[in-house]
Symmetry: C2
Subunit: 411 residues, 2 copies
């Protein structure tokens, strides 16, 4: 198996834990230890050249920093072949925070740039199995989350959103069985730490998350196209766990997909490619977790401008110095400063971002000024999302979830 | 858990093994050790009285010898409530042998006597996971086996036959999840000997076999009737295995259903009731197995009269004595004699059966004569099955498998 835990002396990034004692994660080490590849400037340039689209800021800034076999996707695309995108979400909470939006933002860009179809899996079964929720509640949350996802701007003619509880069956279930026939409990123990106290639902879920990587799971979309390649935008910050820690936030995706890539050739499919983002930090900093039980650890898409202002001002970890005088002299530390990190994710203008970083790190710009700019950026982003979500009707959800061909999905 | 292995010094009956060194299984001990109840004359009389039907020979002769909570079903039936039947088969072989027919024969009788609906699960997924077969082959075998099952005479207006690969999904999948959320790997280890080398497909299958015990798995049949009780006719001779013995014939049903009964109240359902048959012996005797790899160990529903005659004459284990003279003096041993056991299963006439037993055990009837009668009985049974099966069309299979209401299923 490709699967490998990452555990260096100074940082721990496993399916179970992420920590960076000094507040900054070393992504080069992470790439080495996970055995994936860096997304470098050459790849970003190539994407721009192939798609004739300017690269998304998440690519220009190395926020999606690592990949597995992205080059194979690009080689085939250059030769005139298409692929499809697969991403998803475990619908565990009523409202999403900004970290949840990141894979969808990049996926939206990729769908538009490459003009390819997209499948979005809402793992309501996972949330039932991991959280103390009823099936009805998980189904409701999945539908609510679908509205937030649709609000990101996906094209209904190229996008199929499904919930596991509604969609598992038929050709999809056949692929679940195929995967489940090639993964042992020992394999899962190596990847997720599965133990004999675990319930068997948790044991089967990895196969359910693997199945959308294979085009034959969607006969209404890709009939007779079993070798179509799949690209999975995957937030590496969806860290955490299967089984052991019951209070986990989200289930780690990368280990699932490393398992999927191991199994794919054994059951006659292409390995899915992956493109993986950096950790999106909690307001309190990279070494803490965003937690549903602490609403002040994250900005939610339902927050008001006032809430955003209050949270950023009060909770966003700043590297600014203790006094204005000291700050003017020493400046801020860009590696750990949360407002700077958030601007790096969400401020579109590269020149302005560079300017802020320079001014702040050299002490000419104060924490309060950086936070003020961040509040404006986030307020606008969240308000725009709220406006878009208010337009999403139940009928639109039904249309995205309809099991029907999308005849123009590659057009 | 109710689950308990049976291991006495003189006999071994576990999910993994059945043996009776002296060729005869002590069913009283088996009932005690499994913790089920005997089907006694009072229960058989009660069924006859409630249904106004003469009891099936499998009941009169104690072939279905044990039950779990059958009285609860009868109490409710007496009070005017209905229930539904659930049985099934793992479609691992092209043609069924007589042992495979036994649960279906009793089920047909129960369906007619109680006028109740029936669901029949064909576990093509199980066979994919346990045997070295493709999914396409398992699906094909399931459909072929469905024809043999339909040939047993079930009423299409009261019977829903489904294959897991086609039907798992929706409400059924929700119940799979519910079960899978209440069974741990440790539970499975206790029941089936699940080990870390097992593939995860085998780990989820028990939940898939449990789900049909709950009426909400069939919303097209039992909408809003979630407390409807389920009665499962179950051949205890479908002994064997999960995971450990790769050459298993059939997966044991009783352990699955003891697990299901443990889980049922935890997820808001009634415990299914069970009615369980004796072991149907191989031609070579009760301490051997019918084996697909040895066609001479069983009579198949595809056998010709000549094959039946040759198999019975050559392979059916006889307790007749070494010489006619000795046999006249000592007689046969009814406890181990296979032709007598087979007549006990299949000869309808009680008086004739008693006569044969008496004459044979007291030495007046010879082995050859008993075998001759058995050959006639089996030839007629098999020929009748073959005629019925020849009438089963693909359209009839589709009709039994159609996911549609059966409005007259209780009528």
């Amino acid at each position: 198996m490709e699967t490998e835990e990452v555990a260096a002396a100074e940082q721990v990034v496993t399916p179970f834990e992420v920590s960076a004692p000094d507040g900054a994660i070393d992504y080069d080490k992470l790439v080495d230890r996970f055995g994936c590849q860096r997304i470098d400037a050459a790849i970003v340039d190539r994407i721009a050249r192939l798609t004739l689209c300017p690269p998304h800021r998440f690519l220009r800034r190395g926020i999606f920093f690592a990949h597995r076999d992205l080059n194979k996707i690009l080689d085939l695309y250059e030769a005139g072949e298409k692929f499809y995108l697969y991403t998803g979400r475990g619908p565990s909470s009523e409202s999403l925070h900004l970290g949840h939006l990141i894979p969808f933002m990049l996926t939206k860009y990729l769908q538009d740039a490459f003009m390819v179809p997209l499948v979005i899996q809402l793992t309501d079964d996972e949330k039932f199995l991991w959280k103390n929720l009823t099936i009805a509640e998980c189904k409701r949350l999945a539908r609510e989350n679908a509205k937030d996802i649709i609000a990101c701007g996906f094209d209904v003619e190229r996008t199929f959103i499904f919930t596991d509880i509604n969609y598992v069956g038929g050709a999809f279930f056949e692929n679940v069985l195929q995967v489940a026939n090639h993964v042992t409990l020992n394999n899962l123990r190596g990847i997720f730490g599965t133990i004999l106290e675990d319930r068997i639902g948790k044991v089967i879920f990895p196969a359910i998350q693997a199945a959308p990587s294979f085009p034959s799971s969607f006969p209404h979309l890709f009939p007779g196209n079993d070798q179509l390649r799949c690209l999975i935008p995957c937030a590496i910050d969806q860290f955490c766990i299967i089984g052991v820690v019951s209070t986990c936030q989200d289930t780690a995706r990368d280990p699932y997909f490393r398992m999927t890539r191991d199994v794919a050739p054994k059951i006659g499919f292409q390995k899915p490619s992956l493109i993986e983002s950096r950790f999106f930090p909690a307001l309190q900093g990279e070494s803490t977790k965003m937690s549903a039980s602490d609403p002040n650890s994250a900005i939610y898409v339902t927050d008001s401008s006032e809430q955003i202002k209050a949270k950023v001002n009060k909770y966003a970890f700043s590297s600014g110095q203790a006094s204005v005088e000291l700050h003017r002299k020493l400046g801020g530390n860009l590696d750990v400063d949360v407002p700077i990190k958030y601007l790096n994710f969400f401020l579109e203008d590269d020149d302005e971002l560079d300017h802020i970083k320079k001014e702040y790190s050299e002490g000419r710009m104060l924490t309060g000024e950086v936070k003020q700019r961040l509040i404006a950026v986030l307020s606008e982003l969240v308000a725009r999302h709220q406006r878009a979500r208010a337009q999403v009707t139940e009928e639109m959800v039904d249309a995205f979830m309809a099991v029907r061909p999308r005849p123009n999905m590659f057009g």
